[in-house]
C-alpha cells in the first residue's frame, strides 16, 4: 500500500515536471531504490532528444553514472572525469547540471546499478530513439524489437521511417516488422497480405507469430487466413532448410579447420617423423597458456607461484585497440613457446625412441601427465580466462546464415597455416632436408645431412604448429590444464584417416570429418550420437583404406 502511494506521488511529480530535461529526470531516477519504479520513469522518457537520451541511458547501463553522498546524507548522481591524480582522486560532476561536485576517490562513490527490469525499460526507450540512429546495427535491433512486440502503436513510427530508410537490410527488417505488427490488424485482408509478405521474406522470427495467427484463425473459422498463414510457414520452413544447410556447411568447414589446425602439427611429427606424441595435446595447451600470459601482460599483469617460487609479470594495462592487438603478439609467441617445448621433448626423450614408436607413445604419455600437472601447479587447477579481442567476437549474418568472425578467422588461419607449411616443405632448404630425412634417414645421413638436427627442427616445427592451434583454441574454448586431452583423440583420427605422411590428406580428412560431424549433428539433433557415429565411421573407413586416404607408396617392404 505504501509502495503504491509512493508510486502515485512520484508519478505526479513526474507529470508535473514536464519541462524537466532527460538529464534531470535521470539524475533523480538513478537515486531511487525500487527498480520497477525506475523502469516506469525511464519508460516515460520517450520523445525526448534521442541522441542525448541514448548517450545518457547507455552511460547508465555501462556503469558510467555514480552516486555520491552529500555531507547531509542526501545523494547526488554524478559522472566522473578521467583525471585521476596521484591520490586516485577524480573530478565528479553533477549529472543534472554538469557543475563540478568535487574531487572524489573510488571509496566515496557507488556505481548506479541497473537490473534486467530496468534495462528492459531502457531498451524500449532506446529502441524508439535508436530507430533514427546512424548506426545500422543499432537501427536493425530497434526494428526487430518493435516487430516482435507487435505493438500497433509503433506502426506509424515504422511506416514513417520506412520511407526514409535507404539501407537494404534495414528496409527488409522494417518490412518484416511492419508485417508482424499487421498480423495483429483487425482486417483479415491486411493479415493475409502480411502473411504473404512474411512468407516471401522467409522471416524466421515470425514463425511463432504465424503459428499463433493460424491457430487463432482456425478457432475463428477463417479458412483463407489459415491457408495464408500456413502457406507462409511453409515458405519459411523452406528458407530454414536452406539456412540450416548453408549453416551446417559453414560450421562443418569451421570445425574441420579447427581439426586441421590441431592436427597439422601432428601430421608432421606423426605423419612425417613417425613419432607418436601423446603430449601433442599439451603442446597445444602450451600455446594456449602463452596466449593467456601475453593477454595478462597487455592487461593487468600476472602473478604465478609454481612450487612456491614467485614470478611477477608486470602488466601494461593497455586498453582498446592496443589491448585487442595482444592476440597478434600472442600468435608468434605461442608458436615459439611450443616449439621450444617440442625441442626439449625431442632432445630429452624422443630421440632415443625413433625406432620404437610404441614406446614413444608410452613415454610421451608420461610427459603429457607431467605437463598437465605442471600447468596445474603453475596456473592453478581452474581454467584461466582468455578474452577474445573485439575483432574476433562478432558475426556477419547473410540471409540469416550466421558467420561468426572467430569461425571465419579460423578458416582463414587454417588456409594460411596449410599454405605456410606446404611452402616451407616445398620451397625452403629446410623443407628439402626434412623431406629427404623423412624419406630415407640413412641415405640422407650418408649424404651429409645432419639428420639429428633436422629431426630436432622438424619436431619443433610440429610442436610449434600445435602451439599456434592452442592460441586459436583459447579464443573458442577453455584454457585449462587438461585442454590438450580434449583434442588428442580427434587429432590422431584426423591424421590417420588422411593418410600418414601426407599434408593434403590431413586437410581433406579434417574437412571431411568436420562436415560429417556437423551434418550428423544437424540430422540427428544429438551431438553425442553424432560423435559416436563419426568414430564408428572412421573405424569402418580404415577397413576400406587401412592406410588412410592418401597412401604414401614406397618400395621398402619391411614395416
Amino acid at each position: 500500500m505504501r509502495k503504491f502511494l509512493c508510486a502515485v506521488i512520484l508519478l505526479v511529480l513526474c507529470a508535473s515536471g514536464i519541462a524537466e530535461s532527460p538529464k534531470e529526470v535521470i539524475s533523480k531516477t538513478v537515486l531511487l531504490e525500487d527498480s520497477e519504479e525506475q523502469a516506469k520513469r525511464v519508460g516515460a522518457l520517450s520523445g525526448a532528444n534521442p541522441e542525448e537520451l541514448i548517450a545518457l541511458l547507455n552511460k547508465w547501463k555501462e556503469g558510467g553514472i555514480f552516486i555520491v553522498e552529500n555531507a547531509d546524507g542526501t545523494k547526488v548522481a554524478v559522472t566522473l572525469d578521467e583525471d585521476k591524480d596521484a591520490e586516485d582522486k577524480q573530478t565528479a560532476r553533477r549529472l543534472d547540471t554538469g557543475a563540478v561536485f568535487g574531487r572524489v576517490v573510488a571509496a566515496d562513490i557507488t556505481t548506479a546499478e541497473t537490473d534486467s527490469t530496468l534495462r528492459l525499460a531502457m531498451k524500449s526507450v532506446l529502441d524508439l530513439a535508436e530507430l533514427s540512429s546512424p548506426d545500422l546495427k543499432r537501427r536493425l535491433q530497434a526494428i526487430e524489437t518493435m516487430g516482435s512486440e507487435q505493438d500497433p502503436e509503433r506502426l506509424p513510427a515504422l511506416l514513417a521511417w520506412q520511407a526514409k530508410e535507404t539501407h537494404s537490410r534495414a528496409k527488409r527488417a522494417i518490412q518484416e516488422a511492419i508485417a508482424l505488427i499487421q498480423l495483429k490488424d483487425e482486417s483479415d485482408d491486411v493479415k493475409i497480405a502480411a502473411c504473404k509478405t512474411l512468407g516471401e521474406l522467409g522471416s524466421i522470427p515470425s514463425q511463432d507469430f504465424l503459428k499463433t495467427t493460424a491457430k487463432e484463425a482456425n478457432e475463428a473459422g477463417k479458412a483463407a487466413l489459415v491457408t495464408a498463414a500456413n502457406g507462409a510457414l511453409k515458405d519459411i520452413a523452406g528458407h530454414v532448410t536452406f539456412v540450416n544447410t548453408a549453416g551446417t556447411a559453414f560450421r562443418g568447414l569451421s570445425l574441420g579447420s579447427i581439426l586441421l589446425v590441431v592436427a597439422i602439427g601432428l601430421a608432421i611429427t606423426f605423419g612425417l617423423m613417425g613419432v607418436i606424441n601423446m603430449a601433442h595435446g599439451e603442446m597445444i595447451a602450451i600455446g594456449a597458456y602463452t596466449t593467456y600470459v601475453v593477454q595478462c601482460v597487455f592487461g593487468p599483469g600476472l602473478e604465478l607461484s609454481p612450487f612456491g617460487i614467485n614470478i611477477k609479470l608486470p602488466g601494461m594495462n593497455a586498453t582498446d585497440w592496443l589491448y585487442d592487438s595482444y592476440f597478434i603478439i600472442a600468435l608468434p609467441l605461442s608458436f615459439l613457446a611450443a616449439a621450444l617445448g617440442g625441442l626439449a621433448l625431442e632432445r630429452g626423450i624422443i630421440r632415443f625412441l625413433y625406432r620404437r614408436p610404441l614406446e614413444s607413445l608410452l613415454a610421451t604419455w608420461g610427459v603429457s601427465l607431467v605437463l598437465q600437472q605442471l600447468f596445474r601447479l603453475t596456473f592453478g587447477a581452474n581454467n584461466v580466462q582468455v578474452s577474445s579481442p573485439s575483432w574476433l567476437s562478432g558475426n556477419w549474418t547473410v540471409n540469416d546464415v550466421l558467420f561468426g568472425w572467430n569461425r571465419v578467422f579460423v578458416i582463414v588461419f587454417a588456409i594460411a597455416i596449410v599454405w605456410g607449411v606446404t611452402m616451407l616443405l616445398k620451397k625452403t632448404p629446410l623443407g628439402l632436408l626434412i623431406r629427404a630425412v623423412m624419406q630415407n634417414r640413412q641415405m640422407a645421413a650418408c649424404m651429409g645431412v645432419r639428420t639429428e638436427r633436422v629431426n630436432m627442427l622438424t619436431f619443433a616445427l610440429g610442436s610449434g604448429l600445435a602451439g599456434l592451434a592452442g592460441a586459436f583454441i583459447s579464443q573458442i574454448g577453455n584454457v585449462g590444464p587438461s585442454l590438450g586431452q580434449l583434442y588428442i583423440v580427434d587429432s590422431f583420427m584426423t591424421v590417420v584417416v588422411g593418410g600418414v605422411g601426407n599434408i593434403i590428406g590431413t586437410v581433406i580428412s579434417a574437412l571431411g570429418i568436420g562436415l560429417l560431424d556437423q551434418s550428423l549433428q544437424q540430422i540427428l539433433g544429438n551431438p553425442v550420437l553424432g560423435k559416436i557415429l563419426v568414430l564408428a565411421g572412421i573405424i569402418l573407413f580404415l577397413q576400406w583404406k587401412p592406410a588412410g586416404l592418401f597412401v604414401t607408396k614406397s618400395r621398402s617392404l619391411e614395416s
Binding site: 607408396k553 614406397s554 618400395r555 617392404l557
Partner: protein
C-alpha cells in the same frame, strides 16, 4: 610342352611401383622337378618376382599359377605357403628371439590352425627329423641358442633348415650363398642339388656365378632384365648370349 602341369607359371604379369615398372609383361614357365636359376643385374626384378609368387606383392595385371590350378595372385601369403611354396629371403629372416630349435618347430610341416597349435606336441618322428635337419645345417650345437645371436652365415643355414622343415613343393631361394664361405657355398649347392626332384622344385636367385654354374649344370637359367625375361637356356648358352653380355655379363666383364 608335356601334359604335366607346370609347378609355377606366370603369364602377362606387370607390376609397377610409383611409376617404376618393376615387372614388365613377364611370362615364365617351370616344370615340376626343375631347379631354375634366375640371374640378372640389380633392379632387374628378381626379388619382386619372388614377392609376386609368395603374395607379398600383388601384380597390377596377369596371373601366376601353381600347378596350373591355383592362381596365387588371389591368395594371401600364408595360403600360398600352405600350397607348398616356401621361401628363403635375401637377407636372412629368422625369428631372432626364438631359439634355433624353435625356429625349426615353427617351420615344421603340419597344421597351421590356431586351435591345433594349442595342443600340438612334437612326436618322436618329428623330433628326429628336426634333429636331422639341425645336423644337416650344422647347427646341432646351437640348438637352444637364440637365433638372433647367430652369425650371418649361420642364419642363412638356419633359414635353409626352415625350408627343409617345411618340406615345400616349390622352394624359392634368394641369394643363399651371400655371407657364406666358399666351402659353405659349395655345400649349399650340394644340398639344393640333392633336394631337387619330383618332390621339390627349386628357384634360385643368385649373383655368384661360380655358384650358379655349380647348381645349373645342364639346367635352364633365366635372365631377367628390366622386369622382363631377356633369355632362357643352359648356363653356357646364356653366358654367351650377346644381349646378356651387353646388359649383364658384358658390363661385369668390363668392370673386371
Amino acid at each position: 610342352m608335356s601334359q604335366k602341369p607346370f609347378i609355377i607359371s606366370a603369364e602377362g604379369v606387370n607390376k609397377s611401383f610409383d611409376g617404376f615398372q618393376a615387372i614388365r609383361d613377364l611370362n615364365f614357365y617351370m616344370d615340376v622337378g626343375e631347379l631354375r636359376t634366375v640371374i640378372g643385374p640389380n633392379g632387374a626384378g628378381k626379388t619382386t618376382f619372388l614377392d609376386l609368387i609368395t603374395g607379398r606383392t600383388k601384380p597390377d595385371e596377369g596371373k601366376i599359377e601353381f600347378l596350373n590350378t591355383h592362381d596365387v595372385t588371389k591368395m594371401s601369403e600364408y595360403e600360398i605357403y600352405r600350397l607348398g611354396i616356401g621361401r628363403k629371403f635375401q637377407t636372412p629372416t629368422v625369428y631372432t628371439d626364438h631359439s634355433v630349435f624353435e625356429n625349426l618347430v615353427l617351420s615344421l610341416e603340419g597344421s597351421r590352425g590356431v586351435f591345433r597349435s594349442l595342443f600340438a606336441r612334437l612326436n618322436s618322428t618329428e623330433r628326429d627329423r628336426l634333429d636331422e635337419i639341425l645336423k644337416t645345417i650344422n647347427l646341432g650345437s646351437h640348438r637352444d641358442r637364440k637365433a638372433g645371436a647367430l652369425a650371418h652365415g649361420q642364419k642363412q643355414w638356419l633359414e635353409i633348415g626352415m625350408l627343409l622343415a617345411q618340406n615345400a613343393r616349390l622352394l624359392l631361394v634368394d641369394e643363399p650363398a651371400a655371407g657364406m664361405t666358399d666351402e659353405e657355398t659349395a655345400k649349399t649347392g650340394d644340398l639344393l642339388l640333392s633336394l631337387v626332384g619330383e618332390k621339390h622344385s627349386i628357384i634360385v636367385i643368385e649373383h655368384d656365378m661360380t655358384f650358379v654354374r655349380q647348381i645349373s649344370q645342364g639346367r635352364k637359367v633365366t635372365v631377367l632384365h628390366q622386369g622382363h625375361i631377356l633369355c632362357e637356356g643352359p648356363v653356357d648358352e646364356v653366358q654367351n648370349d650377346e644381349r646378356v653380355l651387353e646388359v649383364y655379363l658384358g658390363r661385369k666383364a668390363r668392370a673386371a
